[in-house]
């Protein structure tokens, strides 16, 4: 009995010691290149879900770059969308950070607000900065520091089920241009067909879409708790009652289901929606058209951009920024848009005839509608550390108002208080 206890203690101690040793194995990566003068600089470049579809495009891009930048070697790695965040965090934590990373704006802003990525202002010329659409470029500017270079993007467009629209006695050839018209259409659709207008997710970007400022100019306090906001939210609640918007918090995957099963007449989404629709409901795809999204009070259209950042732990920041600028310059963005059927974030690229040419497919309709919206495009970001806390607070409050019928003023007061508390942290 005593022996077994002793054995147990010895084994447990050995196991704990072993686990400690193993967990301490995540040290600095050895074999960094370019440490000495004259050594080639090896840049680790990460993308999200672009292999194998665009392998040829990137191999050519990298070969061109290496040809013109002697002494620089690009090591390209591609990770799935779901894995890239954790992969990046663990790489940074273990001291083996990549040099150039493709991230979405939300994560890029989050990294920027925590000082984990390089401020690009020190490396970029004004001309370079002005080559991107202002709204998209400024999405990742926090406290005057530019944390990311915009890459490929897409803006929301309005997808419309022409069969349902025609059944309601409306003409899809003259789509709604404003939010008010869209509401009128949805009401008529509800009346005549029983179908709901569209489904949505109650998240914080509703405020900027409706022209509601979330924070004051110096980002020190919440400013959304106003009588105007109350009126806007009351109107949105009325839309739920009228059957314009579904009384549900619907994530994108479920929005696809609702549109595919013809439970709603419209879908507000980026061009990526088309591929999902094509797969899930080919018949509905045939009856769908894409038109520019009727704007809200703020007259902005939300874009959803992919960016390129340089982590602060990169050992070759200057070379990394140069490569990031090369990937996202107008010529390369135009080429990539043609290869991937995405939209560029550079002003010059959009002048290419490719973005106005239509072959009447849904894809090209969405591309043109989306491209025409780029001048009004904004990747909405709060732009403060703990932005995600603020977004969560607003989303939770909106859900309480829209779905739980919570008292509007009391909920707005609570949201304001919570956001101000977050800002004090």
């Amino acid at each position: 009995m005593k022996k077994s206890k002793k054995g147990m203690v010895i084994t447990l101690l050995s196991v704990l010691l072993l686990s400690f040793m193993l967990s301490a194995c995540g040290g600095e990566k050895s074999g960094q290149m370019g440490s000495g003068k004259g050594d080639p600089v090896k840049l680790e470049f990460w993308t999200i879900s672009l292999q194998p579809t665009f392998t040829d495009y990137f191999n050519k891009l990298i070969a061109d770059y290496e040809k013109t930048h002697e002494g620089v070697i690009i090591d390209w790695k591609d990770y799935p969308y779901d894995a890239v965040t954790n992969k990046l965090l663990t790489s940074i934590a273990s001291g083996s950070s990549p040099d150039v990373v493709n991230l979405n704006t939300e994560f890029a802003s989050q990294m920027g607000s925590k000082g984990a990525v390089v401020d690009l202002n020190q490396f970029l010329t004004d001309e370079q900065k002005q080559s991107y659409f202002d709204g998209i470029f400024n999405s990742t500017v926090i406290d005057g520091k530019a944390y990311a270079l915009p890459w490929y993007t897409g803006t929301e467009v309005l997808f419309m089920n022409t069969k349902i629209v025609k059944d309601a006695g409306l003409d899809p050839a003259n789509p709604p241009k404003s939010q008010d018209e869209l509401v009128a259409w949805a009401k008529q659709i509800k009346e005549k067909t029983g179908k709901t207008g569209y489904s949505t997710q109650w998240v914080s970007n509703l405020f900027p879409k409706e022209g509601i400022k979330i924070l004051n100019d110096d980002k020190s306090a919440a400013v959304f708790n106003t009588p105007e906001t109350k009126t806007i939210l009351e109107n949105i609640k009325k839309k739920i009652v009228d059957g314009v918007i579904m009384k549900e918090d619907v994530p994108f995957t479920k929005q696809i289901q609702y549109y595919s099963s013809e439970q709603v007449a419209f879908e507000i989404a980026g061009p990526t929606f088309i591929n999902f629709l094509k797969t899930s409901a080919p018949d509905v795809y045939k009856n769908t058209i894409a038109v520019p999204m009727p704007t809200g009070k703020a007259d902005v259209r939300l874009s959803n951009s992919m960016d390129v950042v340089v982590p602060g732990k990169s050992k070759h920041q200057k070379e990394a920024v140069e490569f990031a600028a090369f990937i996202t310059n107008a010529d390369n963005q135009t080429a990539f848009s043609k290869a991937a059927n995405t939209l560029p974030s550079t002003k010059e690229s959009i002048k290419d005839p490719f973005f106005t040419a239509s072959d009447n497919t849904l894809e090209s309709q969405a591309k043109i509608a989306s491209a025409n919206s780029l001048d009004k495009a904004v990747d909405y970001m709060v732009g403060v550390p703990n932005a995600s806390d603020i977004n969560s607070a607003i989303a939770r409050g909106l859900q309480k108002i829209m779905l739980n019928d919570a008292d509007l003023q009391a909920t707005l007061d609570a949201m304001e208080q919570e956001v101000n508390q977050v800002l004090k942290k």
């Binding site: 072993l18 989050q110 579904m246 009384k247 806390d389 829209m402 739980n404």
Partner: protein, 293 residues
């Protein structure tokens, strides 16, 4: 000086060592490491500072965390319900009913089905135009479609139901194992004494199942407080904070907002809570069972 002898227990430990090593690296060490982390503002991507008890002070002033704790405690409602129903089910499938194996299998299918699949199936069944609303409307039990998962008054209870639906078969099997360990002569003696069916269940079955009840209560209690999958997949804690459970909130704080220090502190608080509740359950369930000796 005693000569060291390799005994049977060393052999046993040698066999267990590889598994223990893995558990130590991936379970014990993160738990231990979480304690010092909870006193920092660790976020992986920026510099780490020691913050003392700030995270804990913040936690007890964090309205959302307190709501999530409350929701997790509410979730514990399902623990006794699960025990009662699964014991009943076990007693039923323990009999010599024709086709009993089919029932046992049917009850067990949800257990071996992935929670993601279960959650998706239920999200379709419970959607506005789903089967549940269709039948309830047909039966006249509701006048209008109910958004079960988007209505604060129903969402948490629907999630509890899904958790229960998936777990019942598992606990049923554990109780079934317990039932089959009860000597049949005890039942025969009770029958000879003229005890009714309920009397037998109440005076023989339940007392002799107590060790199983203790075990099942403990694991279902822990499961209820730590519930994550179904909540995260179906509601992400919404609408508002109606279904925000502590695990979901900790996940959001840690893996979505990178406040790992704060998330560790929340995890520690929840672990202590689970520990206290487990001790209480132990206290109330120490007697009973079949003594094999």
């Amino acid at each position: 000086m005693k000569r060291w002898v390799w005994t049977e227990s060393y052999t046993a430990w040698a066999f267990m060592a590889p598994g223990l090593a893995l558990i130590a690296v991936f379970v014990f060490w993160p738990i231990i490491y979480g304690i010092p982390l909870s006193f920092t503002d660790y976020s992986v991507i920026s510099e780490t500072h020691y913050v003392g008890f700030d995270n804990f002070v913040t936690a007890f002033h964090d309205k959302n965390f307190l709501i999530s704790l409350w929701n997790s405690l509410l979730y514990v409602i399902i623990v006794p319900i699960i025990q009662i129903i699964s014991i009943m089910m076990a007693i039923l499938v323990n009999g010599k009913i024709p086709g009993v194996k089919i029932f046992r299998t049917a009850y067990y299918i949800p257990v071996v089905t992935s929670m993601v699949a279960v959650a998706l199936i239920w999200s379709w069944l419970l959607s506005n135009n789903g089967v549940v609303n269709f039948f309830l409307l047909k039966l006249g039990l509701i006048n209008d479609q109910v958004a079960w998962l988007s209505t604060s008054s129903t969402a948490l209870f629907v999630l509890m139901f899904i958790t229960m639906w998936k777990g019942l078969g598992y606990y049923m099997m554990l109780y079934l194992a317990g039932l089959q360990g009860i000597p049949s002569d005890l039942y025969e003696a009770a029958r000879v004494d003229g005890a009714s069916r309920w009397r037998v269940i109440w005076s023989i079955t339940i007392p002799l199942l107590r060790p199983h009840i203790l075990f099942c209560t403990l694991i279902s209690l822990m499961g209820a407080i730590r519930v994550f999958d179904e909540v995260y997949i179906l509601t992400k804690g919404g609408p508002g904070t109606s279904t925000l459970t502590s695990s979901v909130y900790i996940f959001q704080k840690g893996l979505e907002q990178f406040n790992f220090g704060y998330a560790s502190a929340l995890g520690l608080i929840v672990s202590i809570l689970v520990g206290v509740l487990s001790v209480l359950v132990f206290r109330f369930n120490q007697k009973g069972g079949v003594n094999p000796y």
